[in-house]
């Protein structure tokens, strides 16, 4: 009897400790990154590092603005492309597809998420780059190599597609048939029901899915690095090359570390990425909870 109670107590404490350990990892990583990037922050300042566009490590000039913008462009394009496609796909799977088709579609979409990023990168280089270079860009700009934030965005969109589709499908599946029946029985057709009832009810879930996907997209490295040109300038159109933060770190870490402060600069890039993702998550949490409160009131 005593032993049972003891076991219960020990286990619950153990779980608490393990949970705290994994949560504190976040803090430890943050502090670690800050300490390693401290030399460059001391030499320059937060303001100049974040707003300067000059990236000349040999002369000791480290401006991260192009990288921040590169990250935002690529992720933004990815979500703009992926979101409508994902919503329509998830709606088709949950609302329109019948038995057999549904059983095939869901595992098929999930299979996409199992493909390693490097393969998406190769696909981007072999297929998306020529497509942009020869067929899309000539309609809009004089010259583009194809290696651009658009290419990065497209590849990234394909990569986050299965994630959004599977979460949104789950959310849509939780909407009771009776609620749909209520709308249908008032004479609404299927699309009206989807637009005005189903999507509205699913909105918080859809936002949560997007938040998760964007957080992933911010950090995606290899596939994006292979297609987006890696040029340290601020992109001004979707056909310009960009240089997202993760690509900067992956391309240079371990090399050229003889340059003074370079090591610290890369750590600062990591810290920036960390902060962007953190801020994004906090802001979207706030928006989500506001929205949920608004829907309930």
């Amino acid at each position: 009897m005593q032993l049972r109670i003891l076991k219960d107590k020990i286990l619950s404490k153990l779980m608490l400790v393990l949970t705290l350990a994994s949560v504190s990892l976040l803090l430890i990583i943050g502090i670690g990154l800050y300490l390693h990037s401290a030399p460059i922050i001391e030499k320059s300042s937060w303001g100049t590092l974040v707003t300067s566009s000059v990236w000349k490590p040999l002369r000791g000039l480290f401006g991260f603005f192009p990288f921040i913008m590169g990250t935002l462009w690529v992720t933004g394009i990815a979500i703009i492309i992926a979101l409508p496609l994902c919503l329509l796909t998830a709606l088709f799977i949950t609302e329109y597809a019948q038995g057999g088709l549904k059983r095939i579609l869901v595992p098929f979409v999930n299979l996409l998420s199992g493909i390693p990023p490097v393969i998406f990168g190769v696909w981007g280089v072999l297929f998306i780059i020529p497509l942009i270079q020869n067929h899309i860009a000539p309609h809009f700009v004089e010259f583009s190599t194809g290696y651009s934030v658009l290419a990065g965005g497209i590849v990234l969109a394909v990569m986050i597609f299965p994630l959004i589709v599977s979460i949104v499908s789950e959310v849509l599946n939780t909407i009771p048939q009776e609620l749909k029946d209520a709308s249908l029985s008032l004479g609404a057709n299927k699309w009206e029901t989807i637009k005005k009832v189903i999507l509205r009810k699913a909105l918080p879930g859809i936002i949560a899915a997007v938040v998760l996907a964007v957080s992933r997209a911010f950090g995606e490295t290899i596939a994006v690095l292979m297609v987006c040109g890696n040029n340290a300038v601020v992109p001004h159109s979707v056909f310009d090359a960009g240089y997202p933060l993760p690509a900067l770190i992956a391309n240079n870490y371990g090399e050229m570390l003889s340059i003074p402060l370079y090591d610290s600069a890369l750590m600062f890039a990591a810290l920036l990425l960390f902060i962007i993702i953190l801020l994004f998550n906090i802001i979207s949490r706030v928006i989500l909870s506001r929205l949920e409160r608004k829907l309930a009131s």
């Binding site: 038995g99 048939q177 609620l179 209520a182 249908l184 029985s185 004479g187 009206e192 309930a296």
Partner: protein
């Protein structure tokens, strides 16, 4: 029954998968009366009700044969337009399912879909239907609040008002009071009785007392077949069929 039937069901058979849910149903639902469908759970009474506004169509693996005539129009005719049929019938389900929007928008939802845009017309409709269901005084100061904030009994009345707002001819109730407290139940029951002046009402219920209180006619369904159909007092107090007698006395449930 002397008056013309509002819904006329002829040789209706419903299969779902391998199950034969409804077996050769032939009934006439009278106009401007309350008709209750009673029977043990799983006998097919809800299926029968949902066959009236074609909500059965959404069930996977369903096969429907036979005719359901509403105002003389066969709703299972391949040429029949389903939203127009559904608009004729207000549905009140087992639990209230308010749409995820405000009280006002819940009621304006149907009229807006059917093309009413003018604010004054909508305002008037909303007020009218809320008054018809006795909700007006309870909610008139918070029409823009979310419908999910209402109590469950209020929500069910809101759902009824929402159904009435599209100006139906028939009200279908699927055990509409089963989730409600006794007070809300009696409010809904009284509403049914007063609404039959303007609407034909078909209710599914497993509560015999309720069937007796509110309905003019009773259909007893057992094992997917209509066993007996007639005026309430006759079916409940003086059933012709042995099965009905047993059910009414509580021997089978």
């Amino acid at each position: 029954m002397t008056q013309t039937p509002h819904i006329s069901v002829q040789h209706l058979n419903v299969h779902i998968g391998n199950q034969h849910i409804l077996n050769d149903i032939n009934i006439n639902i009278p106009d401007k009366k309350v008709t209750s469908i009673i029977g043990p759970s799983g006998c097919g009474k809800t299926t029968l009700l949902k066959s009236f506004n074609r909500l059965l169509d959404n069930t996977p693996g369903v096969k429907i044969t036979g005719k359901v005539l509403v105002d003389g129009e066969d709703i299972y005719d391949p040429k029949a337009e389903v939203t127009h049929i559904r608009k004729k019938m207000g549905l009140l389900s087992q639990r209230p399912y308010p749409l995820p929007m405000s009280i006002y928008d819940n009621i304006a939802y149907g009229p807006r879909i059917h093309g009413i845009k003018k604010k004054q017309v909508l305002d008037q409709l909303v007020e009218e239907q809320l008054k018809a269901t006795g909700l007006w005084n309870e909610v008139k100061d918070r029409l823009n609040a979310s419908a999910s904030r209402l109590s469950i009994g209020q929500q069910q009345r809101l759902c009824l008002a929402r159904g009435l707002a599209v100006n139906p001819e028939i009200i279908l109730g699927d055990e509409s009071t089963s989730a409600l407290d006794p007070v809300s139940t009696s409010i809904i029951e009284d509403l049914f009785i007063s609404l039959k002046e303007k609407y034909s009402i078909v209710l599914v219920t497993h509560i015999l007392r309720q069937a007796r209180r509110v309905s003019d006619y009773i259909i007893f369904v057992y094992g997917g077949k209509v066993i007996e159909f007639g005026p309430t007092e006759e079916v409940l107090l003086n059933p012709k069929e042995e099965l009905t007698r047993e059910y009414v006395k509580g021997y089978i449930s």
